[in-house]
């Protein structure tokens, strides 16, 4: 999929662990792992909003479009 999830990059920048983020955004670690590893098929606006709030960033910092060609 050409949509890349840069959640791990943002977590590293904010020096935050996945467990901490899961507590802040009230999501399970397994769901966040699905998002982090790029296995997710869709993301809810509410989830995106919560992650952006917790990491103090923009949706564009987490999601990136990269042409496969």
């Amino acid at each position: 999929m050409p949509i890349i999830v840069n959640l791990d990059v943002m977590l590293a920048k904010r020096k935050m662990s996945l467990t901490e983020l899961s507590e802040k955004v009230d999501l399970t670690i397994s769901n966040l792992s699905i998002l982090k590893t790029g296995k997710a098929k869709a993301i809810r606006f509410s989830t995106l909003e919560a992650i952006c709030e917790a990491l103090d960033c923009q949706p564009g910092d987490i999601l990136e479009y990269r042409d496969q060609e």
């Binding site: 966040l32 699905i34 998002l35 296995k39 997710a40 098929k41 869709a42 993301i43 809810r44 989830t47």
Partner: protein, 206 residues
């Protein structure tokens, strides 16, 4: 463990199907046991009868009945399996083997139904396994009538040519009905396939 209030129709359906599953298994074991005991201990199997069609010309009506008012198109006689075993042992073996295969197929289908309800109870109904299970049940329902027809042709018709009418017909409604039930289940399997895809998508939505 769910409380009684939380138990829904799936729970009760599963409980009934589970009970029936063990009951049918018991009956199947008893049936095979009865065949075994007949040949081992010489016990009679009077409970088992085979329905055979007889020629309408061989039927004689009671003298008190005005036969001019009645037309007989077909008649069916009940033939004890002991008679078949004594006179047509080859056919008897065929009938018994067919019955065992039929019981095995029935139990296979019933087991699939039981597992579908079990998965529904565990809230994992839209799984790829259930799609396969539905297809198996549909296939079994579709082959039921041809199987019955083949068994009838192979093992029941040749029992006694004098006893049996020359013309045999199987009810078209029944044949078509069973075929349509099979197709309906295949359609349900297709719905389950779509449900499975949607469930997978839902599971991967964060």
């Amino acid at each position: 463990m769910n409380s009684l209030r939380d138990r829904n129709s799936v729970f009760y359906s599963y409980a009934i199907i589970n009970f029936l599953w063990y009951a049918f298994c018991g009956v199947a074991i008893l049936f095979i046991g009865a065949i075994f005991s007949k040949h081992t201990f010489g016990l009679a199997m009077e409970a088992f009868n085979i329905k055979v069609p007889i020629d309408a010309g061989q039927v004689t009506l009671n003298a008190a009945i005005d036969s001019s008012m009645i037309s007989i198109d077909s008649a069916v006689a009940s033939l004890g399996i002991g008679y078949i075993a004594d006179n047509h042992f080859g056919l008897y073996i065929g009938i018994i083997l067919s019955l065992i295969i039929a019981i095995a197929l029935f139990l296979t289908g019933f087991f699939q139904l039981r597992m579908i309800l079990k998965s529904a109870l565990n809230e994992d109904v839209f799984s790829s396994k259930n799609i396969t299970r539905l297809k198996i049940i549909a296939g079994l329902i579709i082959i039921y009538t041809p199987f019955q027809w083949i068994v009838y042709r192979l093992f029941v018709l040749p029992i006694d040519s004098e006893l049996i009418a020359s013309e045999i017909s199987i009810s078209l409604n029944f044949e078509l009905g069973s075929f349509i039930y099979g197709l309906l289940l295949l359609a349900l399997a297709a719905v389950f396939e779509k449900g499975h895809d949607m469930y997978q998508e839902l599971k991967l939505t964060v």
